[in-house]
Symmetry: C2
Subunit: 218 residues, 2 copies
Amino acid sequence: MTSIGILGGTGQHGRGLAQRFSAAGARVIVGSRDPLRARETVAKWGTAGQSIVVAHNAVAVEHSDLTVLAVPFTSVDTVLTEVHSQFRDTSIVIDVTVPVTFAGGRMTMLEVDEGSATEHIRARLPAGVQLAAAFKTIPAHVLGAADESLDCDEFVCGDSDEARARASALVELVPGLRPIDVGPLSRARFIEHVTALAIAINRTHKIHDARFRVVGLT
Amino acid sequence: MTSIGILGGTGQHGRGLAQRFSAAGARVIVGSRDPLRARETVAKWGTAGQSIVVAHNAVAVEHSDLTVLAVPFTSVDTVLTEVHSQFRDTSIVIDVTVPVTFAGGRMTMLEVDEGSATEHIRARLPAGVQLAAAFKTIPAHVLGAADESLDCDEFVCGDSDEARARASALVELVPGLRPIDVGPLSRARFIEHVTALAIAINRTHKIHDARFRVVGLT
């Protein structure tokens, strides 16, 4: 059984992933800076019988086959510093963050020197750790509605074939999602702009669940 | 009958638009810097009976209700200088360019100071001209195959309600395309990154016709 650590697992995005992975039979470790409080939060999810445990972020990394980074982008540096020494050469990290803020009610993409949140994270991980991006464009709102069919594609990129394959397998764990491999890590900037476009569509049309399907790829 | 001028109308993207608009009953003026040569090119399209004429770029702007900018992004400045004095306060321009190059066989997005090709163009148009972006994500390859169903969504943004409405109506002229209004002009940067993502998908999967449908918007 795959063991998946989700850092920032009590946020809206992290919660949706935790519940979907757990429902698919994976062992989920919700990582938090405050496990006591996180445990209370998770207890309220009503996912009795599912395999979700709570631990310190560092412990979640240590005991997971895959680490999903689901903290807000602005907390990435702090969390990575906190867990840095727990990564092993076999560690695989899946980045689901998007460098977007909603300051003043307006959606803005943050300028990221490295070109994307994923490349920013790459620069802060130990060299041997493999990194992929996934789950960046799925609306947290839909992800969290366990009874709602997702029915869309999720874009995956990564710095190794293995990282991309593991991220794609994770996407396939969730019914209704199809992984689309879009190549190397540098393509994360395209994916993150697609998320911004989804938010723009949501705001323009007063909906909450715009997402995408690729046409022309069978 | 709407009269549509297409600057760069003999390029692959322009040709596809010219043929699709003409097939839908619009009067199309293909604009060119070299109308004699462009006329020979258009004669070979085998669109006899369709309403496609060829003219100098400036003449195409002068006699059109809508001007579509379909030149390569790197030619935009030259063409806009050439036709600048032909725009009227009622002119509407639809930008279909994408700031992407394929130098050395590698797809690269150009750094555009204004943030997007569309905003770059906005800065070079007379103040009274209204501007929208559309047809940026449809693969020229599919657009040019008149017998192929497009079956996808096209993202529209613009600097006025009228520009967005006119661009959306143009998208609806083409069977199988649904316009998706994504708001103000600044969102062109998201759309242009979606095009880059489509190219990345094409290259990763060795296909030519990746395009998108929005899920969650009815």
